[in-house]
Symmetry: C2
Subunit: 213 residues, 2 copies
DNA sequence: CCCTCCCATGAATCATCGTTCACTCATTCT
DNA sequence: AGAATGAGTGAACGATGATTCATGGGAGGG
């Protein structure tokens, strides 16, 4: 009879897979995507390099899983925050502030996953993540425009521009690292809302109402 | 008597160095930074790989020169446009629109030089370029704020955020490629000015006044 | 015209990583 | 207990790409 996986073994395998994923993610968050190398991941996970390949067919698959998991988490958080808001403009503000706050919380990782050098295959996957983010934002912008809460504009340009502003203003290498996180998030959120055509005073009000972690 | 470089030889050497730089730049502009490899550059310049090393001590030095030259050109163009403007707000608008227009004109190259995967050593140089850009913008923003033309804000955050918005909205992989360049530039410039706190109507006026190439 | 210098060449070398595989060892089944 | 299975290992391999170097050839000096 064929060898059958014990309860115990199944759990151990799953744990190890998670350990490998965690190792990859923590390296990305500490030293950037470039440092996510099989040897390094294996070392951090306390296993041999070859073992990684018993869990992931290739390095790209491993990195893809890291990015995919993060994408899922972030998108869910953003959607939840937006859906809980009372109106289209509040939803937009919540969307932006949530993304900003969460990105800032894991600053290095956010940058690594969203904007750092990677192999072309991985880049495609990362693009999917960004595309999904942009699509989410675009939807909220279009809704607000349709409802007359924002001046008429091309959401196809505005959405990626806002994402760019948030990333560069908060987590990019040129963003100031000092200062309160809360304040930084409010600053860029305000900036983004104004960019979309919300007048200063109203934008400040929306930002103040946002529930920030 | 010792060998002495003839007029003619000196010129030929200078020309060849320029040819190599041009080859590197054109490859970066067509296929991205990753495609800038010694072999490829040499082939495009119609010389042997080893010859490149008679002109540049390393690949990084070559790439650094490409980036440095571009940085110098772009900064000069932006400064000129801003200095020619009548007031602080016009200068800001000119700054932004000029950067946007020039980046869009050489879209792929701009992305390659400002945001694409490179070796860590190069990344430092690229950061210098971005830092200079941000500093320029920051200066203009601060001036406008001091003059009461913009609401009080942290230019240290706003400046990189604006650069990010321009890059992502115009030349990033998610920016829509179709449509008139002029219109795209105006759209993101408007977005950026509003982000800084210029009210919609006034921002539209400023954008309309900008001299676009 | 001949002798030096350099410049140019491109095959060979070196370094870096992802990936493989022959082998060891723990676990499962009879 | 003994055989069978499959997880774990890590040195070796292969691909890619930067850098070097022994050698050939053309230009400057006498």
């Amino acid at each position: 009879m064929a060898y059958r996986r014990t309860e115990n073994v199944v759990r151990r395998l799953a744990e190890r897979e998670q350990t490998i994923l965690d190792a990859a993610r923590s390296i990305a968050g500490e030293e950037g995507m470039g440092a996510v190398q099989i040897a390094a991941v294996a070392q951090r996970a306390d296993i041999a390099a070859g073992t990684v390949y018993r869990y992931f067919p290739s390095k790209n698959d491993l990195v893809a899983d890291v990015i995919g998991a993060m994408a899922e988490r972030e998108l869910a958080a953003i959607r939840a925050a937006a859906d809980a808001a009372p109106g289209p403009l509040s939803a937009l503000a919540a969307c932006i502030a949530t993304f900003a706050a969460r990105a800032l919380q894991e600053r290095r990782l956010a940058w690594a996953v969203m904007a750092e050098p990677v192999d072309a295959d991985i880049d495609a996957l990362r693009l999917d993540f960004r595309r999904a983010l942009v699509a989410e934002l675009e939807k909220r912008i279009s809704t607000a425009v349709a409802g007359g809460h924002l001046p008429d504009q091309d959401a196809r340009v505005a959405a990626p521009a806002v994402i760019g502003a948030l990333l560069e203003g908060l987590v990019g290498p040129l963003a100031p690292s000092a200062g309160s996180a809360r304040e930084a998030v409010q600053t860029v959120t305000l900036l983004a809302l104004r960019a979309l055509g919300v007048v200063d005073a109203r934008a400040r009000g929306l930002v103040a109402q946002c529930v920030l972690p």
